[in-house]
């Protein structure tokens, strides 16, 4: 069960979309491609469980490696552990939902679906690769489609936001590359051989001075992808002017690349520096959570509300990573997955509302529950999930992060935990404010009365995401059994800093 099919299918679907003209064929191909991808990831999950059941406790399963630049030590090595597996599942769900939501994309539909598939190929590649250079390669593949998707199909100040997003992500990847170079050149083994392979690098302990220098580059670089506090300004503009499917991909997958990168590359390979810098990470994460939540309270545009709430929720991911203990990091990974699903659902709902009422301003929306019950209930469910209501994935992830962050050795960090706990109240305020105003309450303008409810493809998209959210929410033990060993493997490296 080699992993290359995972990258191959999106790429092939992307190419296939180029050969067809009208929207009908193009969207059908994209749908088939992403559905196949979802089935494949389930098959991979089954194989993963079988492998684990058969007692294969190797950190990375389905390991395979092909020489690419032997002289530089770059090889196309792929392999997955629990965390990568969960990420692949997340991407599969969000991609399928994304394709379904943009069913009526008239404008340049062929290019639209091509770029979507390319973006998903980049994400899959990123999650399965174990070679820092290949990871960077796939990270870059994912950046350009985002720029085009927002620039061409966006709305509002789309050029400004597309440019801003692309520049900041480019800046981020520049920093990441610096970090990678730092790791690469400081990790020569006894006979001077350098390598990009993560497994080997994790065994070679980088000198502390090198770590202290290059960790900030790698962490901030990936942090920019994952909406680290001062560099999050691309998130509100980028998400709100992106078309629905693109903002789902942006928030659902591409912000997770950042979190995953921070965890797998920055913290796993440079644990001592991560431990030394953890106070700053925690501080920034706590600020992001509370600041993001309060800023959301003031927004009047639905998409800005969800974008800012993504900044706040991604703060939990970084808080979990900053706390550097097993429960907190498991919580961080769960938060990545749960936030990916719920923000995709939220954007889908907002997209559907926007398609019908052509306005995202809270002031101009009202009483939609009577007019479109399905979309409104999806909107409310997504809101409740991001609120942290038990029965949905948000609660599971946030509670794990809180429990983990409370176990931190130093009691000084309790303030950060209490601050982030306080965010659940502020989140409740802005979610209810948004839901109360747009869904409940009297109808604001009467031509909303004859709007249609969700079509079959939108319903399917919502149900796909709902299945993800509810399965994690109702029975989270399968997710923590999947992620647990993966995080335990990471802790072998990260743990040693706390002991020493």
């Amino acid at each position: 069960m080699n992993l290359h099919i995972l990258v191959l299918i999106p790429v092939l679907t992307a190419l296939a979309t180029l050969f067809f003209k009208e929207l009908k064929q193009v969207r059908m191909i994209a749908f088939l491609g992403s559905a196949l991808q979802l089935l494949l990831s389930f098959a991979l999950l089954a194989a993963f469980y079988a492998e684990r059941a058969a007692g294969n406790l190797a950190p990375m399963l389905f390991y395979s490696s092909f020489q690419w630049f032997p002289s530089l030590g770059i090889a196309y090595t792929t392999g997955i552990d629990g965390i990568a597996m969960a990420m692949i599942l997340l991407s599969a769900f969000v991609v399928l939902a994304g394709v379904l939501v943009s069913w009526k994309m008239e404008k340049l539909s062929r290019e639209f679906f091509f770029l979507l598939m390319l973006l998903s190929a980049g994400a899959y590649g990123f999650f399965i690769s174990l070679d820092l250079f290949v990871m960077f390669f796939f990270l870059e593949i994912a950046v350009i489609p985002k720029f085009l998707l927002i620039g061409v199909w966006g709305s509002g100040r789309k050029e400004y936001s597309a440019m801003k997003l692309a520049l900041m992500l480019m800046g981020g990847s520049a920093l990441v590359f610096l970090g990678l170079m730092g790791i690469y050149f400081n990790s020569a083994d006894i006979h001077g051989q350098h390598t990009f392979n993560i497994l080997e690098l994790s065994v070679r302990h980088l000198p502390l001075s090198a770590q202290m220098l290059f960790f900030p580059f790698a962490f901030i670089g990936f942090g920019i992808f994952g909406a680290l506090f001062p560099f999050h300004t691309w998130v509100p503009d980028g998400h709100s002017s992106a078309p629905t499917a693109a903002s789902m991909f942006l928030a659902g997958i591409s912000m997770k690349l950042g979190g995953y990168g921070c965890l797998r590359v920055a913290t796993y390979l440079m644990p001592e520096a991560a431990h030394a810098y953890s106070p700053y990470i925690i501080l920034l994460a706590a600020i992001a959570i509370i600041y993001g939540a309060f800023a959301t309270m003031m927004q009047t545009d639905l998409k800005y509300i969800n974008a800012y709430s993504s900044v706040s929720h991604c703060g939990f991911v970084l808080l979990g990573i900053g706390m550097m203990n097993e429960t907190a990091i498991t919580g961080a990974v769960m938060q990545m997955i749960s936030h990916g699903l719920m923000t995709a659902l939220f954007f889908a709902a907002i997209g559907m509302i926007y398609e019908r009422t052509h306005t995202r301003m809270l002031a101009q929306l009202g009483g939609l529950l009577k007019v479109m019950p399905f979309i409104s209930s999806i909107f409310v469910i997504a809101g409740l999930c991001s609120l942290g209501l038990p029965g949905f994935s948000g609660f599971v992830a946030e509670m794990t992060v809180f429990m983990g962050s409370w176990q931190h050795v130093e009691t000084g960090y309790r303030i950060a935990t209490i601050l982030s706990c306080a965010s659940i109240v502020v989140t409740a305020v802005y979610i209810l404010r948004a839901a109360g105003k747009s869904i409940m309450g009297p109808i604001v303008d009467d031509h909303h009365l004859h709007l249609s409810d969700a079509t079959w493809n939108e319903k399917l998209a919502a149900i796909v995401l709902l299945i993800g959210i509810v399965t994690i929410g109702i029975a989270p033990f399968w997710l923590s059994d999947l992620i647990g060993p993966g995080v335990h493997g990471l802790m072998a490296n990260i743990g040693r800093t706390i002991l020493s």
Binding site: P230, T233, M297, T327, K370, I424, L432, R433, M440
Partner: protein, 647 residues
Amino acid sequence: MNLPMNLLLIPLLPFATFLLLGIFGRKYLSPVAGIIGTTSLLVSAILSLQAAYSYFIQHTGEVYTSIVAWKMTWLPFSQDVSIDIGFMLDPISVMMLVVVTVVSLMVHLYSLGYMKGEDRFATYYAFLSLFTFSMLGLVVSVNIFQIYMFWELVGVSSFLLIGFYFDKPSAVAASKKAFIVTRFADLGFLIGILILSYHAHTLDFPTLIQRLTASDSTYLTSAIGSSFLGFSALTWGLVLVFMGGAGKSAIFPLHIWLPDAMEGPTPVSALIHAATMVVAGVFLVARLFPIYAISCPGALELVMWTGAISAMFAAIIACTQTDIKRVLAYSTMSQIGYMMFALGVAGYGGENGLGFTASMFHLFTHAFFKALLFLGAGAVIHMIHSNEMKDMGGLRKSMPITHITFLIACLAIAGIPPFAGFFSKEEILSAAWNANKAIYYIALITAGITAFYMFRLYYNIFWSKEAKHDSHIHDEHSHGEGTLTMKIPLLILSIGAIGAGFIPFGNFVSSDGHHLHLPFEIANAIMPIGVAIAGILMATALYKKENDKSDKIVAALGGIYKGAYHKFYIDEIYLFVTKKILFNLIGRPAAWIDKNIVDGAMNGIASLVMWKANLIKSIQSGKVQDYALYFYIGVFGLAILAIYLVK
């Protein structure tokens, strides 16, 4: 004992109804939704009664132990700490099972008639079943996080039900307010859980209680050892958990949402805001009672005082309210204050556990007669279509059954002997007498005021003005006294209100599981009965006939009356705090900072680059000679460099 399977059915049946009606309700099942909901609740009620019977009656041995019928690890955090979901049978949880299912069944039956015309009938029953499921889940929880989970679910279902008439902006605002205030209290509850679980290294109730009460346990010393701002971590934990309970049970500082929650349909108020959800806080404190009583009396002291203040405060406001549902809401708040301070005065085990048993007994009886009061008020509102007292009067002839049942409930709550309220309130007063005289006197005065405002309500509805309403009774659209399904619950609950008092509660529920003989001396029963009768007489004098005596008193009281009527302006204070401080002082600057400073920094960098680019651009002036000059300077510089490097 009975199989875990049919125990599990009790919460799962309402959940199944919720899913069924939630997904398919709107289109296919709406006419028959009521029947489905009621039957599933009926089965669930029978099962819980059967469980109670087998747990209490067929019980062998001296002590009621807590039996964990079923447990499953839901979310493992680390080796020993994990959230598990389970079903625990314990005297208080079985009692609560009975209360919740019976009252919920009554409300389901009642709503068949009350909500007949509604277009979202199926969704109403879906939300009602969701509420019942989460309440049952909360009651039988085996893990402190499980109680938190169902706590949140109860909060959301109350949000959904209060905001049921969502096209009324006031209902939407009330539901938002309820959810946010309870959510704020849940924040305290969450942090309390984190503190307790950090020190006790477990989330499981039995082990938590055992570890934090055993005098020699290292966990207890570590919890008391580490302190913060003067109080030990254990005190912080327990106070914060109580804060969670206070939010949900509308205790004094966090009560502002209860009166507004009356925007929901009346059966909802009967179920949620009378019998079940509001007592969740009392149940939570009761569940952790051993820790409160043994390890941290300070926290118990706080519980006692807040309970007493809340009781007195609510009773005073209740006397001034004109909307009958708000009167009942404040009376609920006052009775819950009773239960809280009853727990507060109690100690652990043996005789001084009387407060605990009295509180649980009062909770049991209060559920019946308060639900009865609300349903009765619902019937009146259903007929008059208005909540205000001034539109009512002289309804005793047109609504005989509601009148009698309402009277029974008023007598019960006032604490007149044969009715249930007397027994439970008398136990509370005797417990308070043994423990703390000041609390006893506050309780006594509150009992008097309770009797007064209940009978003020009673007379205003059924007596005082005669003539005005004849026209109302005969016009066709009024439903008269409501259908049969509305009358049956009233009758059953009134039987409960009368009979519940005679149940020997002592040998079922007690702080340490042992049988407790409830002392019943006439001596200390005289005082409460006397005060109650005085209250009733005062109310009859003022309100039986339509007269202006009450208006003269209002004029006399002046400022105090106006203050009480406006709920002592606490709402306005809270609004000011949230509006001014949270929105303007923190929210607006946060959004502004983000837009200008952080975003500005990014745009600043961009404009900086643009400015530099312009600077460079001017060098390409197109003049050949400029280029020649730059070229010359370049060559000259390189020459110098080469010379020095070579030398």
